[in-house]
Subunit: 336 residues, 2 copies
């Protein structure tokens, strides 16, 4: 097994590329694929300040690593979701990654900041955990990007993730989701731009990238996600990919190249139905945003609206290395 | 486990209906689902003469049984594809079914009529067997419908089949196929109407229908199809269905209800590119139809164009019961 580029011994084969790579050229391939994704989909300008959504898993840490290597000004934001040991371990991986590299990581703890965790939130809202979690993450990343004045939020969704989401949306023909499933969602109506620079790289490649770069990451899947539909879609697509390498790539990029426009005229938000949340000031389709409705059901509170003085709040906004993210005061201000 | 209708002991559960049924009400359900499919998609008028494509498997025999039970004038056509023991056994099941019920079955043997079989045809055409087979079947069923002046050709494609085909088309986003994937293809340009009355019934239900009706059928899958992509798609969807009963139904009917029109304005053939095959007279997109091109590559011959006198041909057109299908002379005439 020889590297396609240099003919030296290879360490990994990528069946959908029908090629093998040595360490050096595999790492270069990963960076090149990120560059290609960013260019083709006009995700980022070279001077953009990027907020990277960090989970402590392989994808988000590899993404952060690559964006920094490519010269982007990229800070991390980790959300403590309160999912027992899983969250504690994940946070450790995120903190160590940032510390060792002198990168700026903000940590926001849902329990300490808002008085609830994902398992409680899901129960109170009678949602599946992944739904309450996704809602909270979107809200808090958007908010952090606004107050930190970042140009974009980057998430570590890889090809396997996106193909599985597309498969789920196709299985139910959820046309509104289908129209919006693009690797870039432009800024608009108070929402920051969202980009997914890893869409050209698979799950296995991201794990290999971390191993070869010496990045330690949280290997375990989130215990709340076990048995969820998304993982079922991944397994189904893995079986197809095994039979026909390249199927996931063709499915996802065929959709972007030829079909997505049939489901939505443009990637933009038209804004006609977006106002401002009466409680937190975030952009919202209703009078009160979905996150504040979740807060209400779970009996939690927005720290900006708690009865006790702001100084007694439990916010543990932590920055390691050069701090670019706003402080607690800034957050409260932004919300009011 | 009690029957949803009569509360007597049930013999089958159908998870996507979240219900169990006794023999009587399960058989009624199957017929009702066929009636519903025929009505909703305007497949057949009560007086239509229907040619049923018979393979000897559970779906085609159950379809024939149900159409006759519903009062349709339905004859069968079996094609001997020359796939060794598989074809010999399948033909036996088809013949016995027709014989025992006094139904009219025509048998056309590819080897005897056209001088090749599916394995040879696939090799010569460098196509996968299922492709050469499908091409031959479409051509010969269309032709038989024309010469027999049938109003429609009915095939036994069930919900599992259609969902798997849709999945395959979606995985590659084959937009031309997607636009045409409907349970009815209207007649036009010399092609007969094609209908799929079993689209509301799953594979397992069709097997149960045959067992409960005492219909003996060819259980084995076609040996040429083993390991093909279509079966892989079925397995992937089965895993999804296991997790979420009703997924296949929602996938297929959601597509028909809300999405198919995005891929094709209408189900009709516009005919702008359809002429007549210079060799056999069938409608064709090119000067020579795909079947005659296959014949040429395989070194076979259309019986209407063989050098030996027509009377010496090997055609074994067999009718059991009242004969409505044209004879060899009729066939040759129709082709010239």
């Amino acid at each position: 097994m020889k590297c396609r580029v240099c003919r030296e011994p290879a360490v990994i084969d990528i069946r959908r590329h029908n090629a093998n790579f040595c360490v050096e050229h595999f790492l270069r391939l990963c960076r090149d694929q990120v560059v290609k994704a960013i260019d083709r989909h006009e995700m980022l300008r070279p001077t953009d300040r990027v907020l990277v959504a960090i989970s402590g898993g392989k994808d988000s840490l590899a993404l952060w690593d690559i964006l920094v290597a490519l010269g982007y000004e990229a800070d991390g934001l980790y959300l403590g979701l309160g999912i027992g040991d899983y969250s504690a371990s994940s946070e450790g991986f995120a903190r160590r990654f940032a510390e060792e590299r002198g990168l700026s990581l903000e940590v926001v703890d849902l329990q300490e900041e808002y008085g609830f965790n994902v398992p409680e939130g899901a129960r109170a809202a009678r949602r599946v955990p992944c739904s309450a979690c996704g809602l909270s993450k979107r809200h808090l990343f958007d908010e952090a990007a606004r107050r930190g004045e970042y140009d974009a939020v980057a998430t570590g969704h890889n090809l396997d993730d996106e193909a599985a989401v597309l498969f789920g949306n196709v299985l139910r023909w959820q046309q509104d989701y289908l129209g919006r499933q693009r690797p870039v969602l432009p800024a608009g109506c108070g929402f920051p731009r969202k980009v997914k620079p890893l869409v050209r790289l698979g799950e296995r490649e991201m794990a290999a990238y971390c191993v070869l770069r010496g990045i330690e990451y949280m290997v375990e899947e989130c215990p709340m996600a076990v048995g969820n539909k998304h993982l079922g879609y991944k397994e189904a697509l893995n079986a197809i990919e095994e039979q026909s390498p390249g199927s996931k790539h063709d499915f996802y990029f065929g959709y972007l190249d030829r079909v997505v426009d049939r489901f939505g005229e443009s990637a933009g938000r038209d804004g006609s139905d977006i106002g401002t949340c009466a409680r937190c000031g975030a952009p919202a389709g209703n009078e009160v945003c979905a996150f504040c409705r979740l807060l209400e059901r779970v009996g939690g509170a927005d720290p900006g609206h708690r009865s006790e003085p702001a100084g007694t709040g439990n916010r543990t906004s932590v920055s390691i290395g050069p701090t670019r993210v706003g402080t607690t005061g800034g957050v409260t201000g932004a919300r009011q």
